[in-house]
Amino acid sequence: MTTLDARPTIAAEAPDNYLTFKRGIMSWLVTLDHKRIGVMYLAAVLVSFFVGGVMALLVRTKLLFPGEVSWMTAEQYNKAFTLHGAIMVFLVIIPSIPAALGNFVLPIMLGAKDVAFPRLNLFSFYLWILGAICAVWSLVAGGFDTGWTFYTPYSTTSQAGGIIPVLVGVFILGFSSIFTGVNFIVTIHKLRPPGMTWFRMPLFLWALYATAVIQVLATPVLGITVALLVIERAFNIGIFDPSMGGDPVLFQHFFWFYSHPAVYIMILPGMGIISEIISVHSHRHIFGFRFIAFSSIAIAIFSFLVWGHHMFTSGQSALMNVLFSAITFSVAIPSAVKVFNWLATLYKGSISLNTPMLYGLAFIFLFTIGGLTGIPLAVLSTDIHLHDTYFVVAHFHYVMMGSALIAMIGGLHHWWPKMFGVMYSEFWGKIACTLVFVGFNLTFFTQFMMGSQGMPRRYYSYDQLEGMAETFRIYHHLSTGGSYIMGLGFVITGIYLVHSLFAGKKAPANPWGGASLEWQCTSPPPHDNFSKTPRVGDCYDFSAVRWDEKQQGYVVDAEVHASSASSGKGH
């Protein structure tokens, strides 16, 4: 093995790829290339994930001790859990899949050169940066301790100094999300290549489309809500202040009208990634394409109708509670059926257990638990007992982290060779995935029991009443132990991914055997993706895919592939 073979430089072999096309920091800062923008988002989101994760570990470490501790006051704890939630929701999970992976993959999957509005894309990125700067400003100003949900009147009267800065940041981040959504909708409508009808479009793009619709319709409501909160704090107009005729519960309606659809912004793209991963790594056509595609749209629509299920104990009328509970199940059914479709895709597949597939399987396991535990929360009589306990915390971590975030990391591993032209260590990938999976379940499954036994959320201490510490201590200890294991898994992931950038094996164009268009350009892709608009086949038809020993990757016989599209049955 010569040194040339051993050292995989990105520039050495490929004459031109998007990473080498232009060099220098300015070529990145003012780039219009969707791939570079996606990579910048990725770095930013991963840094935020690290900060939010440290906050979580602080919270969990405090909870090893039931009573007061000298090294963390109640106020500091309250700020830590608030920051954890705000960072993870607004800076990480909502933008991560669409902005980091979607930006990179979407145009290439369409065979296009870029998104419809590249300048708007760059502007969206800088809005994210500005929002993050506001978050840092809020920390300097004293932090905020309102919970990421900012319920009034505590959020309008709290003395914490960082509340208005972070609300300004959330407002700005909202526009980053809206503009990305607009961009994706137009791109998918207008830049599909000839032959790619809606029903020939990969499911990841259906998912991004449905997500974009929610982003555009729901996020303005968040903008108005945080603007009202800023105005209330600054000028005391009284909209949420009962002594002036206002209603504190009105805030909850405004807030959840966005934030419930927001959780579908988080999960829908993740489900799209899982459709890709399961299909590609089983080397098998996805089962039930139309249903999965329609279910993404259905979930997007129904997501706007169920916000009140966060408010069953808020003083909302009994009639509203009944309606919201009933409609909530309408969102649950399409999600469940997607799971069955993915299982059916495994049937008679040819399954390779690489790291992306492990994340895909972990998703199915964790999303099943997350979805099923939503049922006692949607059911009125049980939710009265479970609301505002750790049961809810466990449920949403299973769907937001165990599902959406796991899907994002799975997608990152699935498209990493394409994005950077290198392969990471499969060995360490599997180890880290296992640590994350085991650690995650230990952290959060214990919280279901803790919650149903009555442990309330957002508690700094749990020793005020006799017997509390004895009841809950063991769950907290197990949960904290799990969080350290999970943290170790993420650290290892970061290490081997960064290591692969410097010393990873060179990646072929199609390491996994995918049939969608992104696998038909080089790894990494050239600056303008495709020199000619590629011919579109059935992106889930693997009949034209075979392993090429010389390339150490799969190849798609384009002629065979394209003919399968025109002659074969549509989806």
Binding site: Q159, S381, G454
Partner: protein, 397 residues
């Protein structure tokens, strides 16, 4: 597992938790894996629905994960083969796995709906208790005017709580009763339950605030005692007149009011004001900066500064805002925002309407008698319990 146990026991020895001393009531412990004991009329049905959902969930979880694991093993890739052949559609299957879950969730929804309707239908003859929530304590007020920081309820009768908040959102949650309702400022919210099994005063159900309300959200827990009819009536009568009864029983030694009555009232102050000098949300009644306890601090010169450096003595005295130190102490309880001690925030809620004048007098007397007059020894331990001499010279105050 033994490693886990040793770590757990080391950590529990490091606890700074508030343990119960002998004679203090103990909470009723759960005997089930998922749920606490069921102690109200709602518990049986809520638990039934919860476990029904759980069994359905176990079934589907095992089904999904089992199939997943089986397929991953059975259809593993052999070599580098690709293009596995399998069906892309199956209409009967797809319809089946859509319709069956829909039927199941509709059924479950109805169970929940039924249980919920009964939670919202308050019986007309329910015994009403008024609840005031404020940062960071609860007060329960009974029809005869009696008030209590802990919730006492009669056994075997429906009880209705009419609740209000003085500041931000709170939420009253009693897990053993399976009930919860947010408490909203500017409104009254209601909830009801019926507890049939009496706990007596040795055992209690736990009551939590469960809507995040700021710094001491996790210190807003109280006890729920269920008393049989005779015992309850007895308690509520005595509670309404507890201070008068205490005085009536000890006509020759009215010091009993601050010795026994003081600690009882102090329990509501304790979450922010410690007695032994330990720092807290509010200034400790004890000696926290070397200048003595609260009574001593407001006598001496140049200590106990308020409003950015002004000594409180500027406001106390003939012709000044407060004629006597007692008047200042009374104002600091009923109008706490007027002068804020330096180094502390303006966060104390007013207790106007929640303490009678006689109760305020008792608190002031307690602050005046933190130390024994003869020996200087502390009269109260760190939890506010009286540890001084019970018998004093007749009639002295």
């Amino acid at each position: 597992m033994t490693v886990l146990h040793s770590i757990t026991s080391i950590l529990s020895q490091a606890d700074s938790g508030m343990g119960a001393s002998a004679g203090d009531p103990t909470s009723i412990k759960s005997d089930d894996f998922w749920m606490p004991v069921g102690a109200s009329n709602f518990a049986a049905e809520v638990d039934w629905v919860f476990h029904f959902i759980n069994y359905i969930n176990y079934f589907f979880f095992v089904l999904v994960v089992g199939i997943m694991v089986y397929f991953v093993w059975k259809y593993r890739q052999k070599g580098r083969e690709v293009y596995a052949r399998g069906p892309n559609h199956n209409l009967p299957l797809e319809l089946g796995w859509t319709i069956l879950p829909t039927i199941i969730v509709v059924v479950i929804f109805f169970f929940g709906f039924k249980g919920y309707v009964s939670m919202r239908t308050v019986p007309a003859d329910a015994y009403q208790i008024d609840v005031t929530a404020q940062q960071w304590s609860w007060q329960f007020k009974y029809p005869n005017g009696a008030t209590s920081p802990d919730l006492y309820v009669p056994a075997g009768k429906p009880v209705k709580l009419v609740m209000r908040s003085n500041d931000v959102l709170h939420s009253l949650y009693i897990p053993d009763f399976r009930v919860k309702q947010d408490v909203v400022p500017g409104r009254y919210t209601t909830m009801w339950f019926q507890a049939d099994a009496a706990t007596g005063e040795d055992k209690f159900h736990r009551l939590y605030c469960t809507e995040y309300c700021g710094k001491d959200h996790s210190r807003m827990n109280q006890k729920v005692f269920v008393l049989g009819e005779v015992q309850f009536n007895d308690w509520v009568t005595k509670q309404g007149r507890w201070l008068e009864e205490l005085a009536a029983k000890n006509p020759n030694d009215l010091d009993i009011l601050w010795k026994v009555g003081g600690p009882r009232l102090y329990a509501r102050c304790a979450s922010c004001h410690t007695i032994d000098g330990t720092p807290g949300t509010g200034p400790s009644w004890g000696n926290y900066d070397g200048s003595g306890n609260v009574w001593e601090r407001i006598q001496a010169k140049a200590v106990h500064k308020v409003d950015g450096g002004k000594p409180i003595q500027d406001f106390i005295g003939e012709g000044k805002q407060y004629a006597t130190p007692e008047a200042y102490l009374r104002a600091s309880i009923l109008n706490p925002g007027e002068h804020v001690v330096d180094g502390y925030g303006n966060v104390m809620p007013t207790f106007k309407g929640q303490l009678r004048d006689s109760e305020v007098d008792v608190l002031i007397d307690m602050m005046k008698n933190l130390k024994d007059k003869d020996t200087g020894a502390p009269n109260f331990d760190a939890k506010g319990k009286f540890i001084g001499k019970m018998e004093t010279a007749a009639g002295s105050k």
